[in-house]
Symmetry: C2
Subunit: 407 residues, 2 copies
């Protein structure tokens, strides 16, 4: 629909919204007559804004003792744009959030290297830096919909384990040159400093050596403890679990270490009972965040909006179907479209008030297309827990109520 | 300096840093042995991170009763990357921060239009949206250094009235089409809903009609009250004062309204005693944020880093001099370089321990070059208070102490 034609249609809708209101009465309440609150060191949220993450235990267990939480999910249904508020970036931890004194923290870099180094966070912060806006996604994101769809789930419940921040730190390539990695070392162990000591073996491809970095900054400020303070490995496009928080060690070697985090955990169980190891890249994905589960919409104009992302690179296009997948329309995308970052998309839609289903489908610059659910399940089976990237369908009933369904 | 040569030099420095430390002892303290804190609705800052804005009254008055504050400045010396943390975006207000109930707030759009509209924040949020990362800068940023340089000022004091967030809202062009602006209307009045009712006349150039938008989102979440909740006009590249907070009215007309905010206030007093009105665009600017005022550096490797921005468009290059302006080196710039957004720059530097002065100079894509201080003063005089964009010089003494000076 051309913008002008759309505007004409929408103007009628806006007129309807305000039809019964008298201008003078409406505006009388607006201006404050007394000075407002004082200017301060920090800008707090409005008391009228109610927004927050939902701490969860295992899938479907939400009303829990906070001490049992293993993740807390980003409220995608309440957010706009592409940047996730720092304090709402999703969490996934295996031993809670350690409170680390940066003056006592060290990063050891050793193994198959010309020399070993022990660096303080201050040392790292004095080195050359880069900043990059990228998504981080828990490899378990989407698992709630693997076998069945609870109609009462929100998009925060189904897809809240992905977020995008601007991260700042020192390039891995710089640290590799600093310690003099041996050429035959093709793997790196990254180990976290929490009580779980999460440790992962990372293959040193050119892509990873070019793009990975050791971050100390997040949306302009020092990392928050929940996100790895004082140091975190950032692995653009790869499993959230590889973005090791509270980073204390990088070790170079010539084969993977087969830690419990890549053998007992974080392997992908296939339909035939065999498991895939080191399936590290996050796939092409998207989800409509509004309208989404538990919302109610009105007939007439609605903006359909959501987020798309891919571990392969930039999003090339996002298509939206408002007729259960029979036809597709290309959504607008916000610029800049950054590689391995979430991209906001939007489609203008006139809802005729009849029940339907809406769904989005992302395609990335490498030509990867987000699969429909049937194709995804046919290929992956239902034993697996990770890398769910099937298209998400929202059902809308005749009253405008939106529900989570399987396509 | 090539990266490999630089690495060699820097590796020696890193070696010196860790020379006296024994690996085993250093790492013994690192890993936590007990589970960390619980996962939660919000990620708080580390108790080891001390960061905040400084509320100020008029220039140079910092130790004040908070009720007297007219601005609070972003701690540029403590930040990394390009995005400003939402709660640290600078503030400048004329009647404090109103606490607005969005259910009662209205935006009136009227004047030379086919029809007038009264919109609720919810109406605005249902319209087509855009998101954009842009800087907002108070036109008074830099005024502390206009006539003299207090050597004890930090970069937060001298340049803390500029910040960059991702803002989300409805394009002005969409609202203009919705109300049917008359072709002869070349001006728009934007009025805020605080007790000061700040109101500015805005010329409706094609650039402004293409780029301005009415925002409700800031770094992914609803605006904070200090930054205009529930609605704010965003005017990429123009005076902070035009980015009207708590927006309650847009009126279209054929001449400016000559409000007190563009007659008694926010006009530029020239050397000859005459005043310039409607000097609205923010100029090409940059500042080194580290090392900067009151910091102390060590001989050897130091990363020189800072921010550059221009109301004309993208930053094309940033040059840094480490010898008081005699020679210049081109700094690296973080990507993406976005139009009318702050761009982080960085230069590797080996300090030889001798007193010197460092300074940065930005050039934008339109060819505008940030002036040195002498040229700027020769052109603008010392009566003015606004649009100070002269190059900022930091002096470094033999002990590595960094001070604010005039060049």
């Amino acid at each position: 629909m051309s913008r002008r034609r759309f505007v004409t249609a929408s103007a009628a809708a806006a007129g309807a919204v305000i039809g019964g209101e008298a201008l003078a009465d409406d505006l009388a309440d607006v201006p404050a007559r007394e000075p407002g609150g004082v200017l301060s060191a920090f800008s707090a949220r409005s008391p009228y804004v109610h927004i927050g993450r939902i701490p969860e235990a295992t899938p479907g267990k939400r009303n829990i003792d906070p001490a049992d939480a293993i993740n807390s999910k980003t409220p995608l249904d309440r957010l706009v744009g592409s940047i996730t508020p720092t304090d709402l970036h999703y969490e996934r931890s295996h031993a809670g959030v350690p409170n680390i004194d940066p003056a006592k923290h060290r990063l050891l870099i050793h193994g198959m290297t010309r020399k070993q180094l022990v660096l303080t966070p201050d040392d790292i912060m004095r080195m050359p830096s880069i900043s990059r806006i990228v998504f981080i996604e828990c490899t378990g994101n989407g698992w709630e919909n693997w076998k069945k769809a609870d109609p009462n789930l929100t998009v925060q419940n189904t897809h809240g384990l992905v977020s995008s921040n601007e991260w700042t730190g020192v390039p891995l390539r710089y640290l590799i040159d600093l310690v003099g990695k041996e050429a035959r070392s093709a793997w790196m162990l990254a180990e976290g400093g929490d009580a779980a000591a999460v440790a992962r073996s990372i293959p040193l491809t050119e892509e990873i050596m070019d793009e990975a970095f050791v971050a100390y900054g997040q949306n302009g400020e020092p990392l928050r403890p929940a996100h790895g303070f004082p140091l975190r490995l950032i692995m653009p496009g790869f499993e959230g679990n590889l973005n090791i928080k509270w980073l204390r060690r990088l070790k170079f070697g010539d084969e993977p270490w087969m830690t419990r985090w890549e053998t007992a955990r974080y392997t992908q169980l296939l339909a035939n009972g065999k498991a895939v190891q080191f399936q590290l890249r996050m796939e092409t994905n998207s989800v409509i965040t509004s309208p989404s589960g538990t919302m109610t919409i009105r007939p007439g104009y609605n903006s359909i909006t959501g987020l798309a992302w891919s571990g392969h690179g930039r999003i090339a296009k996002v298509e939206v179907s408002t007729d259960e997948g029979r036809s597709w329309q290309r959504a607008r995308m916000n610029h800049p479209v950054l590689p391995k970052a979430q991209t906001r998309f939007e489609l203008d839609w006139q809802w005729n008030g009849k029940p339907t289903k809406i769904v989005s489908r992302a395609t990335d610059e490498k030509g990867n297309v987000q699969p429909d659910r049937k194709s995804f399940i046919a290929k992956t089976g239902t034993n697996a827990l990770f890398h769910y990237n099937a298209q998400q369908t929202w059902s809308i009933d005749g009253d405008g109520k939106v529900s989570n369904v399987l396509a």
